[in-house]
C-alpha cells in the first residue's frame, strides 16, 4: 500500500509508543565566576541545532547583542558592567550564560494543553515539535521568559538540553564547547553537590557574594534542574528574584471565585427570603 507519508505521519501521532526507560535526571550548573563571556555556547547551540541568526542588531548594551533567549537563541550570554566601583565591590564585568531552567515543576509543562511539553526520561523539560500546535500558553506561563514562538513554523521552541545527544550519552553542545567549564552538565544531584562545594570554596576565598540560584526549591517555586552560581542579585542578571508559578495565582482565583459564588448565593437567598415577607 502506498500511503501518503503525510497521512502516515498524522497517524503516527495517534500511536502511543512505549515511553523510554527512566534515566538519571540531568541538568546544567552554570557557574558565572568561570564565564569569560566568549559566547561559544551560543554558537555551539546554533550549530548543533542548525538555528538561524536572529538578525544583526547592535544594542550598545555592553557586549550583549542577542539580548534575550528566543525561539532561535537557546543560550544567551548576559553582560553586566559594574565598573563604577559602587555597591561595595571592585570594578567588575559580570557575564552569565542564560538558558532554559528546566524547572523541576515547570509552569510551561503545566500550561501545555496538547501534551507536547513533557518531562523526558532525563527529567528535562522538552517541547515535542510533532505535537506542539503553537498555542503559546507555555510562552506566557514561563516566569523566566524562556519559551518563544517561532514566526516560521509557529511553534514553541527552547533549549532541548540536547535531548538527541543525550540519547547517545553525548554532552549537550553548549556544555561541551564551554572552554572554562562555566557550563557544566551531568546528573543533576551530582551537580547540586558540586555547586554547594563550589560556593563554600568561593566563600572561603573571600568571595562572600557567591550564592546558588535555583539549586533548591523555595516555598514558592520548585528547584531548577538548570541552576546558576551568581555574584549579585538575580535581577542584575535579568532573572526574577522570586519566580512564580501561574498556577499559584489560580489558587487564589479559585478561592475568590468560590467565595464570590458562595457570597452571591447567600445574597440572593437573602433577597428571596426578604421578598417572601
Amino acid at each position: 500500500m502506498n500511503a501518503n507519508p503525510f497521512t502516515l505521519e498524522m497517524l503516527d501521532v495517534w500511536k502511543r509508543p512505549e515511553p523510554p526507560k527512566q534515566q538519571v535526571e540531568t541538568g546544567f550548573f552554570t557557574d558565572t565566576t568561570l564565564c569569560i563571556g566568549c559566547k561559544a555556547c551560543e554558537v555551539a547551540c546554533k550549530q548543533w541545532n542548525q538555528l538561524p541568526g536572529d538578525g544583526f542588531h547592535w544594542t550598545g548594551n555592553s557586549y550583549d547583542n542577542t539580548s534575550a533567549l528566543s525561539a532561535t537563541t537557546w543560550r544567551h550570554v548576559a553582560f553586566v558592567e559594574q565598573m563604577d566601583g559602587t555597591g561595595g565591590h571592585v570594578p567588575r564585568w559580570l557575564m552569565m550564560s542564560d538558558v532554559c531552567k528546566h524547572c523541576v515543576q515547570a509552569p510551561c509543562q503545566e500550561a501545555c494543553p496538547t501534551g507536547s511539553l513533557i518531562y523526558n526520561e532525563f527529567g528535562n523539560v522538552y517541547v515535542q515539535q510533532d505535537i506542539c500546535n503553537g498555542c503559546a500558553y507555555c510562552v506566557v506561563a514561563c516566569p523566566f521568559g524562556v519559551l518563544d514562538r517561532n514566526h516560521q513554523d509557529g511553534k514553541a521552541h527552547k533549549c532541548t538540553l540536547c535531548y538527541d545527544r543525550q540519547k547517545d550519552g553525548m554532552t549537550p553542545a553548549c556544555a561541551k564547547s564551554c572552554p572554562t567549564a562555566s557550563i557544566q552538565f551531568g546528573p543533576v544531584e551530582e551537580l547540586r553537590e558540586r555547586a554547594r562545594k563550589r560556593v563554600e570554596e568561593l566563600q572561603a576565598r573571600g568571595e562572600t557574594d557567591a550564592y546558588l540560584y535555583g539549586a533548591e526549591a523555595t516555598e514558592e517555586y520548585s528547584a531548577l534542574n538548570s541552576f546558576f552560581l551568581l555574584k549579585d542579585k538575580p535581577t542584575v542578571y535579568n532573572l526574577p528574584e522570586a519566580p512564580k508559578r501561574p498556577v499559584d495565582n489560580l489558587k487564589t482565583n479559585y478561592l475568590v471565585s468560590f467565595a464570590t459564588a458562595v457570597g452571591l448565593t447567600v445574597l440572593s437567598a437573602l433577597c428571596f427570603s426578604r421578598g417572601k415577607k
Binding site: 568561570l34 569569560i36 563571556g37 566568549c38 559566547k39 561559544a40 551560543e42 554558537v43 546554533k46 550549530q47 548543533w48 541545532n49 542548525q50 538555528l51 538561524p52 541568526g53 536572529d54 538578525g55 544583526f56 542588531h57 547592535w58 550598545g60 555592553s62 557586549y63 547583542n65 542577542t66 532561535t72 558592567e81 565598573m83 563604577d84 570594578p91 567588575r92 564585568w93 557575564m95 515539535q129 510533532d130 513554523d153 521552541h157 532541548t160 538527541d164 572552554p179 572554562t180
Partner: protein, 889 residues
C-alpha cells in the same frame, strides 16, 4: 620574533599553553587572551582556580581583565617603561634569582669599553649614524669585551629573523666575566644603570597608572618567582605592533631571566599568535628574507657570491648553528634534486639574491608607484587588514594582474569596484582572478600552532565546484610553468626546470568514508611533509631527525627544524593523536619542533648541577646513574651531556656548550640580559614614545625610536609629537566574536549577530567633553583618514593621568570592512605605515586621532544580505527524529 630569539636563541614561545596551569602568577600584557584565545585561556583559568594570581596590564578593561585579580590600565605604547620599572624593582630590591642568573645568563659578562648607554647619550646608544638613521656596528662597541663586530650582523635592509643574526657569533665562547658582578662594565651593572631612573613614580607618570598599582604587580611577580614558584608572561600583537615591539619582548625576556622563570614549569614567555599556522609560515617561511628553518636568504650586500662564502659568513662557530652547512645543502638537495651537485654548489646560484627590503609594506609602497605588476593573495586581506588599508587599496589598483585565493568575496577581491573612497572600475587596469579555495575540512596538511606544535588535519570531503586547496593550485601552477619553460637552456630558467615537483598520489586518493576522491590529480600532502622532514638521497629513506643531516649532498631536507616529524614510512608524528594520562606534556600528541621538545631551554629547570630547583618545580633533571637527562619532556639539550661537562679549549659546535648552559642556540650558551648583537635598535630595551604621541618622552630627550623607517609618502602622513589637533591616543583590539579583518567571520550569521556593528569604546569623560552619546555615531579621524562607528561609552576605558595631565584613550576593534554580511569602517584606515628596524613591524597599537559626534558622509556601501539559514538540507542518512531541532518542520 627576534625579541625572544635574541634573548634566548629561538624566536618562538618558550613554553606550551597547557603548562600555564602550573604558574603561580601570570602577567598578561600586550594580549587580550580571554577574547583572542579563549580556549588557550582555559589554562590561566585553571591556574587561577589553583590559587595563582592573574594580572592584566592593558589600555582598556577587556574580558581578560574581568578574569584577573589585578588590572592595571596603562597608556598604549608605554610598555617598556612599565617593564623597565619591573626590572628596576627586581634589581633594587634584590629579588632576582641569584644562582639562576649567575649560571644561566650573561649577567657577569664584560662589555667593550666603547659602549655607551642610552643614559649617557640622552636616549641613544653609541654608534648611531644620523645620516643612515641606523646604528653602525663597527663604531657601536656593543659587543663582549675582546670581540669585534659579529660577522653575521646583516645590513639594515634585511629584517631577517634568521638564527645567525639573532645568535651572533663569538670568537671566544667564554668571554671575560666577573662572577662577583663588581666590574662596572659587566652586564648586570650596565642593566642596573640603564634602568636606574625607571622608578615607580616615573612608571606612573609615563604609563598613567598609579604607583600603588605598579608596586602591587611588581610585588606579586617577585613573590611568585624563585626556586619554589614560577611566573609566566603572556603576550600577543598588543606588544608586537609597536615601533618598539621587539624591544618590549626583549624587556619581558630580561625580566623573566632575572626572576629565573625561563625553561621551568609554570614559567616562560607565551607568545600567543593570531593565525592557525603563523608560526608555521615563519618556520617554513613565506617571508622574503628567509629560507626554510630560519636560514637567511642570500643577499648581495654580503659575501654571498658562492655557497662557500655564504656558509662561511652565516654559520656560527659555537653552539648549534655551526650545523648550518648541513641544513643548507640538504635544503638545496630537496629543492633541486639530482641537479644539485657539489660541482654546481648544489644549485645555490638559482636561489635569488636580496638587494633590498621586500617585506609587505615597502612592497605595497612600490606597488603604489606601479613597480609591482602581479600579486598573489593567499588568504590574506590587505584591503582591510593591512595598516593604512586605504593606501594598500590604492596600491592594488595599480596592478596588472591579481590572483585572489579565498572563500568569500572579501575586501581584497572587490576593492576594484567598491570601498569607502568610492571607486570607478573603469579606471582600474587590473586583470583579476578569483580562485575559490578549499576550506580546512576539504584538505589535509599540518598547521603549526602558537606553541610550535605541528598537527595534521585530515581531509574529510572533496571541495565543491572549482574550489581547490592552495596545495593543489600551486602544484598545478608549477606543472604548467615547468611546461611553459620546457626546453629552455637559459641559466635563469634552470632552477624552475630542475625543481623537484613530484607530489602526485601513487594510487587514487580515497576519502575517510571510503569513497574515492573526485580530484585524483591533487597532490599528496604527505609527500610534501616527507620532503620537509628530509630523507637520504641514495635510498630515499626518511631521516629520524636533523642530527642525521649531512653537508655532502647525501641527504635532502626541506626544513631542518621540522625534521623528525615524519621519521619513518607510515609514521607521521604530526598525525599522532595519543594522550598519555601520566604526562601533561602529551609527547605523543602532534610533533613540536625542535625534536618534539614541548618546553624550550628546559635544561634551566634544573640547577647547574642538574638537580631540580625544587620538588614542586621539577621538570628535567640529570640522572647520574643512567648518565642521561630525564623528566617529563624531551631535554632541550644533548641528552647525555653531563652538567659537569666543560668545553675543551678550541671546541666548536655543540661541543663548545658547557653542561650548565641551557641556551644552546647561543654561542656562549647563556640567556642574554644584554644583547651585544641581534637587535638593530639597541642592546637594551629603552622607552621611546610611539611615532604618534601626545606626550613627550619623560625619560630621554630622544622622543621616538631613532631607527624607525617612517615612509613619509603621500597618503601616509603622520602627526608630529604632541600635535594639538590630535590629542587622543588610539589603540586597536580584538573581539572574541570576530577574526582579524573579517574574512572568516563577517560572512557568518552566527558570529555577526553576536557583534553586528563597528563601534569604538571611549570613556564617559571624553564622551561628555565632545558631546558624544552612548549608542550614537562618532567620527574618529587623523591625518590619514576618517572612520565612523557607534559610540560605546563605558567605564572600561579610563582617562589617564600622564605626567600630571589627563590623556584620553579610545579602543577600536579592527574587524570591520566593506565586504560581508555586516560592514563598517575599517580601523586600519587610520593606522599608518611605519616599520621598526628589526622586522618591519608597523605601529597599529598606538596612534593619535580626534573624535566628534556624527557620521562620515560618503560611507554607503551596502552589506551582503544575510545568507539563508538554516540550509534546510536534512542530515543525510538520518531519520526525521535525528534532524536538528531547528530544522524540524
Amino acid at each position: 620574533m627576534p625579541g625572544l630569539g635574541t634573548t634566548m636563541g629561538r624566536g618562538a614561545a618558550t613554553s606550551f599553553q597547557e603548562d600555564l596551569r602550573n604558574s603561580d602568577c601570570i602577567l598578561i600584557m600586550g594580549s587580550n587572551m580571554a577574547e583572542a584565545h579563549p580556549v588557550g585561556f582555559r589554562f590561566p583559568m585553571k591556574a587561577r582556580e589553583r590559587g595563582a594570581q592573574l594580572i592584566h596590564v592593558d589600555p582598556h578593561f577587556t574580558r581578560t581583565s574581568a578574569m584577573c585579580q589585578q588590572y592595571v590600565p596603562i597608556r598604549t605604547g608605554s610598555d617598556i617603561a612599565f617593564l623597565g620599572g619591573l626590572i628596576r624593582y627586581v634589581l633594587d630590591n634584590d629579588r632576582w634569582f641569584r644562582e639562576y642568573v649567575l649560571a644561566y645568563t650573561n649577567a657577569a659578562t664584560i662589555i667593550n669599553e666603547e659602549f655607551q648607554d642610552a643614559e649617557d647619550l640622552e636616549g641613544m646608544f653609541s654608534g648611531f649614524d644620523t645620516k643612515t638613521k641606523a646604528y653602525d656596528y663597527k663604531k657601536a662597541g656593543w659587543s663582549y669585551e675582546g670581540e669585534e663586530v659579529a660577522k653575521s650582523e646583516p645590513p639594515p635592509e634585511i629584517k631577517t629573523e634568521s638564527f645567525s643574526q639573532r645568535l651572533a657569533s663569538l670568537r671566544n665562547p667564554t668571554p671575560p666575566s666577573d662572577p662577583e658582578l663588581k666590574h662596572p662594565r659587566c652586564v648586570m651593572n650596565i642593566v642596573r644603570r640603564h634602568y636606574e631612573r625607571y622608578t615607580p613614580e616615573m612608571v606612573a607618570a609615563t604609563c598613567g597608572c598609579s604607583v600603588e598599582e605598579f608596586l602591587r604587580v611588581a610585588e606579586t611577580l617577585c613573590a611568585n618567582s624563585g626556586r619554589e614558584r614560577t611566573s609566566a608572561i603572556v603576550y600577543a600583537v598588543g606588544w608586537t605592533q609597536h615601533s618598539v615591539g621587539v624591544q618590549i619582548i626583549r624587556a619581558a625576556g630580561i625580566l623573566q631571566l632575572l626572576l629565573g622563570n625561563i625553561g621551568r614549569p609554570g614559567g616562560g614567555i607565551m607568545a600567543m599568535r593570531g593565525h592557525a599556522s603563523i608560526q608555521g609560515s615563519t618556520d617554513v617561511p613565506t617571508l622574503y628574507d628567509l629560507l626554510p628553518g630560519y636560514i637567511p636568504q642570500p643577499a648581495v650586500m654580503r659575501d654571498h657570491a658562492d655557497l662557500h662564502g655564504y656558509l662561511e659568513q652565516e654559520k656560527v662557530t659555537h653552539g648549534y648553528w655551526a650545523n648550518l652547512p648541513k641544513f643548507m645543502v640538504s635544503l638545496l638537495k630537496a629543492w633541486y634534486g639530482p641537479a644539485a651537485t657539489k660541482d654546481n654548489d648544489f644549485g645555490y646560484s638559482w636561489i635569488p639574491r636580496l638587494d633590498n627590503n621586500y617585506s609587505q609594506l615597502p612592497t605595497f609602497l612600490r606597488m603604489a608607484e606601479g613597480k609591482v605588476r602581479g600579486l598573489f593573495l593567499f588568504g590574506q586581506n590587505p584591503a582591510a587588514g593591512a595598516p593604512n588599508a586605504k593606501l594598500h587599496r590604492a596600491a592594488m589598483r595599480q596592478l596588472d594582474w591579481l590572483v585572489v585565493r579565498d572563500w568569500f568575496e572579501i575586501e581584497s577581491a572587490c576593492y576594484w569596484y567598491k570601498g569607502p573612497e568610492g571607486v570607478d572600475p573603469k579606471t582600474v587596469p587590473t586583470e583579476i582572478f578569483f580562485m575559490p579555495a578549499a576550506s580546512s575540512p576539504e584538505k589535509d596538511g599540518t598547521l603549526t600552532n602558537t606553541q610550535r606544535l605541528l598537527q595534521w588535519h585530515d581531509k574529510a570531503i572533496d571541495p565543491t565546484g572549482d574550489c581547490r586547496s592552495d596545495l593543489g593550485f600551486l602544484f598545478d601552477l608549477g606543472k604548467r610553468l615547468k611546461a611553459l619553460y620546457a626546453g629552455s637552456d637559459k641559466a635563469r630558467d634552470q632552477g624552475l626546470l630542475n625543481l623537484t615537483w613530484d607530489y602526485g598520489f601513487d594510487s587514487p586518493p580515497m576519502l575517510p568514508d571510503g569513497r574515492p576522491s573526485r580530484l585524483p590529480d591533487e597532490p599528496d600532502a604527505e609527500k610534501v611533509l616527507r620532503e620537509i622532514n628530509g630523507y637520504t638521497v641514495a635510498d630515499n629513506r626518511q631521516v629520524k631527525g636533523f642530527s642525521e643531516l649531512k653537508d655532502d649532498g647525501s641527504t635532502a631536507c626541506g626544513c631542518w627544524i621540522y625534521s623528525g616529524v615524519y621519521p619513518a614510512p607510515g609514521y607521521n608524528r604530526a598525525r599522532e593523536r595519543k594522550r598519555n594520562p601520566d604526562n601533561y606534556t602529551s609527547p605523543n600528541w602532534g610533533f613540536a619542533w625542535p625534536h618534539n621538545r614541548r618546553m624550550m631551554y628546559n635544561r634551566a629547570s634544573a640547577d647547574p648541577e642538574g638537580r631540580p630547583w625544587s620538588e614542586r618545580k621539577k621538570y628535567i633533571w640529570w640522572d647520574e646513574a643512567a648518565k642521561r637527562w630525564t623528566g617529563v619532556d624531551e631535554p632541550d639539550f644533548e641528552p647525555d651531556k653531563a652538567p659537569s661537562y666543560r668545553p675543551p679549549e678550541g671546541a666548536t659546535g655543540m661541543a663548545s656548550i658547557a653542561g650548565n648552559s641551557p641556551f644552546i642556540m647561543k654561542p656562549d650558551g647563556k640567556g642574554w640580559l644584554y644583547a651585544p648583537a641581534g637587535t638593530k635598535d639597541g642592546p637594551l630595551p629603552t622607552h621611546y614614545e610611539p611615532i604618534e604621541s601626545p606626550v613627550a618622552n619623560l625619560l630621554y630627550r630622544q622622543q621616538e625610536n631613532p631607527t624607525i623607517e617612517r615612509y613619509d609618502v603621500p597618503m601616509n602622513a603622520k602627526s608630529a609629537p604632541l600635535d594639538p589637533e590630535y590629542p587622543i591616543v588610539a589603540t586597536t583590539f580584538r573581539l572574541t566574536e570576530h577574526y582579524l579583518s573579517g574574512p572568516m567571520s563577517r560572512f557568518n550569521s552566527w558570529l555577526n549577530e553576536l557583534q553586528p556593528a563597528m563601534f569604538i569604546e571611549l570613556s564617559p569623560e571624553l564622551a561628555a567633553e565632545r558631546g558624544i552619546e552612548h549608542g550614537g555615531w562618532l567620527v574618529a579621524w587623523n591625518k590619514r583618514g576618517a572612520i565612523e562607528a557607534r559610540a560605546m561609552v563605558t567605564r572600561r576605558v579610563r582617562p589617564l593621568q600622564v605626567d600630571g595631565r589627563t590623556v584620553h584613550q579610545i579602543a577600536i576593534p579592527f574587524h570591520w570592512g566593506f565586504a560581508g554580511e555586516v560592514v563598517g569602517s575599517s580601523a586600519n584606515d587610520l593606522t599608518s605605515i611605519v616599520a621598526d628596524a628589526n622586522v618591519s613591524m608597523h605601529e597599529a597599537k598606538a596612534f593619535v586621532v580626534n573624535v566628534r559626534p556624527g557620521r562620515v558622509e560618503d560611507f554607503k556601501d551596502l552589506p551582503l544580505r544575510a545568507a539563508p539559514w538554516p540550509t534546510y538540507r536534512a542530515a543525510p542518512d538520518a531519520p526525521r527524529s535525528a534532524q536538528p531541532e531547528g530544522q524540524e518542520d
